[in-house]
Amino acid sequence: MTFSARRIFAILQKDYKDLSRNLYVTTTLFMPLLMAALFGRMGMGTISSYYIVINMGFILVATYVQSALIAEEKEKNTLRGLMLSPASTMEIFCGKSLLSFIATAVVVTGSILLSNYNPRNMAVIAIALLLSAVFYVGLGTLIGLFTKSVMEASVVIVPVMLIFTSGSLLIPLIEKYPVLAVVEYMPNLQLLELADRVETGAGLGDTLLHLLVILAWVLVIHAVAAYVYKKRMVDE
């Protein structure tokens, strides 16, 4: 398996030029920022309100934009060209994920600033957000691989958004029905719990378990995405 920076950056650059001419997708980038500014103005200073905005950034930018980028390559028959080139699966995956990852970093940082969120331990939060961003981009890749067009991806994103943003609303339910306890291992809830604990003074050691759970999600989602990619690209 090769790893050529020239190929990866070529795909990134291509995606950047392509996306900057795609109004439909670029307007999506401003939604979370708008909400963050609104929340910041309203002075809603609870951890869960910050994370409603952050999660929205993850879903709309990392997952939705990524799924649209992948779905469009399939819809327009351009992914095949990448696949038939000497670029390895790894290079194509990295190249195709980089733009959404960078956009997510910008949007999430922006919305943290706009909503005046000041975590007590920035380092731990930064690691957690970074891992989460990688997870949500992987989720977007997977959705992009399963859908046939940008339109379809835009429909599929709605239930995904409900699942991954309504997280904190589920907590009372979990307390009532212990079976739902597995839901607590969802990456968004792990992130929220971690953020809560950071505010009570937790450091890296105390939050390691949460980080590991999110890391496990990162590995699983990318392994599944790579498997689906290889399967779908042959015998279609």
Binding site: A10, I11, K14, G81, L82, L84, A87, V234
Partner: protein
């Protein structure tokens, strides 16, 4: 001569329908091999198997001496160029940016972009947005993209179907030039004139089976009737045997000044195709 592609008893089924029934052929290094057949005969399916986009149901396909199922490696991809209708261009980017991406993927210097555009008669169109190109221009840019890395083996799936005669001629010259430089070309087409103009050998595919395989010239000569068609001054056409039995007749036409033209009766590739398969090409 060395075989660059070796296909033996290749079969491909999609559910109950059998797209390829039993296909066997070799492609020699340096030749232009024509894969001719009507719509739905299995031409694209064969290209997809040879480029590891489809798994064969049975039989074997080798390229460069390696089973095509194992040909997803960087080394093989670097040697192969593919033009099919499932390898599109990026519509929002201009011509230059589309080709530049492929220069990066294949490790080719950007100066090649100008060279390949000249090969497809589109020099100077670098800055045009791909979404604004005509169908024939798109097809030529897709061809140019496949020429970028000077592949050893080029798969072309109906490369001139959207082109006018002038540009078709230009592309044909380009392909012959590539052949001269050592590129092996696997070409599918409906166009019998294209096959005659370019191909060293052609295979006739019908319903997933190869019915004939030889050089266009041999195919026509083998099937040539031993007769001549003679055009006379009064406008009538007469069939005359080529052997001694026709000599008197010809002498008469010539000595009385009736003879206008003589043509040897070789069938065209299209005629042979209809004869062998009972089907017309699209």
């Amino acid at each position: 001569m060395e075989n660059i592609i070796e296909v033996t008893s290749l079969q491909k089924a999609f559910g109950a329908s059998r797209a390829l029934k039993d296909v066997t052929f070799n492609v020699k290094r340096g030749e232009i091999f024509g894969f001719l057949g009507p719509s739905g005969s299995g031409k694209t399916t064969t290209i997809k198997i040879l480029t590891a986009q489809l798994k064969p149901t049975a039989g074997s396909a080798y390229a460069f001496g390696v089973s095509t199922e194992q040909l997803k490696s960087e080394k093989y991809r670097q040697k192969v160029g593919i033009v099919t209708d499932n390898t599109a261009l990026y519509g929002r980017l201009n011509v230059y940016d589309n080709l530049k991406l492929y220069c990066d993927l294949y490790g080719v210097p950007y100066q090649r972009i100008g060279e390949v555009l000249r090969m497809v008669n589109l020099a100077g169109e670098e800055r045009k947005a791909v979404s604004k190109l005509s169908k024939g221009m798109l097809q030529r840019i897709t061809l140019a993209r496949a020429f970028l890395h000077e592949p050893e083996l080029l798969f072309l799936d109906e490369p001139t179907s959207a082109l006018d005669p002038v540009n078709t001629k230009h592309i044909h010259d380009g392909l012959l030039h590539l052949k001269e430089k050592g590129t092996t070309i696997f070409l599918t087409t409906h166009d019998m004139n294209e096959a005659e103009a370019l191909c060293d050998r052609v295979a006739f595919l019908n319903n997933g089976e190869i019915r004939l395989l030889d050089s266009p010239k041999k195919l026509r000569q083998q099937r040539g009737e031993p007769t001549l068609t003679v055009e006379l001054a009064d406008g009538s056409m007469v069939i005359v045997p080529k052997g001694p039995e026709g000599a008197d007749q010809m002498f008469r036409y010539m000595s009385t000044g009736q003879l206008v033209s003589v043509q040897s009766n070789h069938p065209t590739l299209g005629d042979i195709f209809v004869e062998v398969t009972g089907r017309k090409l699209a």
